[in-house]
């Protein structure tokens, strides 16, 4: 028998600019209300110092990406330079077919290009982008308002709304449904 699909709903509480303490209190209230860190999220229009709102430090593995990219770029550079010289050898008297200094230059550029391409890919993946489904959101967030969204099951959404209102949100509104 197929498990019953659990529909989720989103709600956003909007806090006025400059109300960092109130937002931190509301996040504490949500935690105390039994909501996990996967259920609520903070939205701001500017980067704040980590932990301003008592949120957990986001973990990421971005630093692995450039290493993988650099290894790939180095290997491609090595194959490209040694392969072309071996396939079409320009023999100069007394000198080896593979000329190391120019190979090093192209392999270096290949290494750096690979590292940069993979880093950019890593930034997008680790930032959880692209996000096709915006969920609960408000355009005032990019004007300095602070949003706290809760995405949870239908039966728990009402309680989340209540917590957000009680903890000082100037406006609470429902977002789109999310399955």
């Amino acid at each position: 028998m197929m498990p019953k699909m659990q529909f989720k709903r989103s709600v956003i509480g909007l806090f006025q600019p400059g109300s960092e303490d109130t937002v931190a209190d509301s996040m504490d209230a949500l935690k105390a209300g039994g909501y996990t860190e996967h259920e609520y999220e903070l939205l701001t229009g500017t980067p704040y110092p980590e932990g301003t709102f008592g949120e957990a430090e986001p973990k990421h593995s971005l630093f692995r990406y450039p290493l993988i990219g650099a290894a790939c770029g180095f290997i491609i550079g090595l194959i490209l330079t040694s392969g072309t010289q071996l396939a079409y050898p320009l023999i100069t008297g007394g000198k080896p077919v593979l000329s190391i200094p120019p190979m090093a230059i192209i392999m270096y550029e290949g290494t750096m290009l690979g590292a940069i391409l993979f880093t950019v890919l890593g930034i997008i993946i680790e930032s959880r982008l692209p996000r096709l489904f915006m969920g609960a959101y408000d355009t005032r967030i990019t004007e300095g308002w602070i949003g706290v969204t809760v995405t949870t099951t239908e039966d728990r959404i009402g309680k989340a709304e209540e917590i957000l209102r009680k903890s000082g949100a100037r406006e609470v509104k429902r977002g789109w449904e999310k399955s």
Partner: protein, 458 residues
């Protein structure tokens, strides 16, 4: 920074997005004019393709002239972005905030101008340029020669262009979300698509901060390699004494930084004059870049001095003849004097004065002057270097630029200016989130009887 005007996030959006959401009256005529200049260059390029490189003023032995000068010049300007953006970002210099994106965008457009100047026009058959780099001829087994500096060069420049473009795109994501939230209809859909659904979660901000530092650290070694490799286009040739110098790589790099940082200062002045962003670009920012320029210019002048010392110390006749040609013979003598005055002796003493560094007019004049000098520097390295009479040559032609070369040169300048203006119309040229972050971390502290601004950082 000691001077600032406090703006809230809404005011920052309004100030910096007014020309993205609306259109200033001067914008269309300015872009139209630059577009016409660019099209004149495109016409000249078409004529060049049709008739061949004989329409240039080049005469044996002068095979390189305006095209290579432009190439080196624009690669030099492209070093602006990384110098300002990466180094200042890594050192957490507060004054970088309003400047970084303009510098990065200048990098991207000047790199494309460099590519227009060299592979596109210089090769004569630009549609075959890419065949230098990639193995292509599987039928006949003909492959690119990786021992040629002209294979190293595109690999470095293309890496730098790719890296710089991606750097700009990644740093644009949060600002594209701001425009998405300020627009409606189709524009909102387009910006929403471009920002990849950015929401501004702590995770996204954290990754954005790490990305700035990580990409800066990765692009910096590329930045050093690019102009080193450009200098090796010249330095690995043993036939031209003036070029075959071990100091060329660092000399080219510091020269590129000199012209690039000056170009950023010019762009900063234009940002205030054209877009009225005087609330975010304060006299303190010009003061800071002026101080940086004094250091950069002095190091560049030292490298220039060393290049001459290395050349003259051996007292070899070919070198002495070349230097005599550069300094005492017409038409190079006035060009050499103009180069020295405009690149160093006019701007640097003026930058020692605080009033000059804080004056938009004087910063504009002095930084334009530097780039006139730095263009001439590249010209004086290239043309007299190969025009010198050598015993094994039997064609001793001279060089005068033709109208075709002048039109193509002008078109590269029009292209960069037009590109910057079009970018500023479509995307914010000042990073909104960086300015807002600076405002959040800004505070005042009281020391004795004085209240001074302070910036809080993690």
């Amino acid at each position: 920074m000691q001077e600032h005007i406090d703006l809230d996030q809404k005011q920052v959006n309004e100030t910096l997005l007014k020309d993205v959401v609306g259109t200033p009256r001067w914008w269309l005529p300015a872009v139209g004019f630059l577009g016409m200049v660019f099209l004149a260059g495109v016409g000249a390029f078409g004529y060049l393709l049709n008739k061949g490189v004989g329409v240039w003023g080049q005469n044996r032995p002068v095979f390189w002239a305006f095209d290579m000068t432009n190439f080196v010049f624009w690669i030099g300007i492209s070093h602006a972005g990384i110098m300002i953006s990466a180094i200042l970002r890594l050192t957490q210099a507060e004054w970088r905030r309003p400047v970084t994106r303009a510098a990065e965008v200048l990098t991207v457009f000047s790199l494309t101008a460099a590519l227009m100047a060299a592979p596109l026009t210089h090769t004569g058959r630009p549609w075959r340029s890419w065949l230098w780099i990639f193995p292509y001829d599987f039928e006949r087994g003909v492959w690119p020669n990786v021992r040629s500096a002209f294979v190293w060069d595109p690999s470095a420049v293309m890496t730098y262009l790719t890296a710089s473009t991606l750097f700009v795109i990644i740093a644009l994501l949060p600002d594209l979300a701001v425009i998405r939230d300020r627009t409606t209809g189709m524009r909102q859909k387009i910006y929403g698509f471009l920002c990849l659904g950015w929401r501004g979660t702590p995770r996204q901000w954290k990754l954005q901060a790490v990305a700035g530092i990580l990409l800066s650290a990765l692009v910096l070694p590329v930045f050093v390699s690019v102009h080193s490799i450009v200098s090796w286009d010249f330095a690995v040739q043993i036939g031209v004494e003036g070029w075959h110098s071990t100091i060329f790589a660092p000399y080219f790099i510091i020269g590129a930084i000199h012209s690039g940082v000056s170009a950023v200062a010019t762009v900063m002045v234009l940002m205030v004059w054209l877009f009225k962003w005087d609330k975010v670009l304060r006299p303190d920012h010009f003061d800071a870049i002026g101080r940086l320029l004094i250091i950069v210019a002095t190091v560049w002048f030292f490298a220039f001095f060393l290049e001459w010392v290395f050349a003259l110390y051996t007292l070899e006749k070919p070198e002495l003849v070349l230097r005599e040609l550069q300094v005492f013979k017409m038409p190079y003598m006035p060009l050499f004097l103009t180069f020295l005055v405009t690149a160093f002796f006019f701007p640097v003493p003026l930058w020692l004065f605080k009033n000059v560094r804080r004056s938009l007019f004087w910063m504009f004049v002095t930084t334009i002057s530097v780039n006139i000098g730095m263009w001439l520097e590249r010209f004086l390295i290239i043309v007299p270097g190969i025009i010198r009479r050598q015993p094994t040559e039997f064609n001793w032609g001279s060089y005068h630029p033709s109208i075709i070369e002048i039109l193509i040169l002008t078109a590269t300048f029009a292209w960069v200016a037009m590109g910057m203006l079009v970018f500023a119309k479509v995307f914010p040229l000042v990073p909104l989130f960086d300015i807002k972050e600076g405002m959040v971390g800004r505070h005042v502290i009281k020391i004795g009887r004085k209240i001074v601004p302070a910036s809080i950082r993690e």
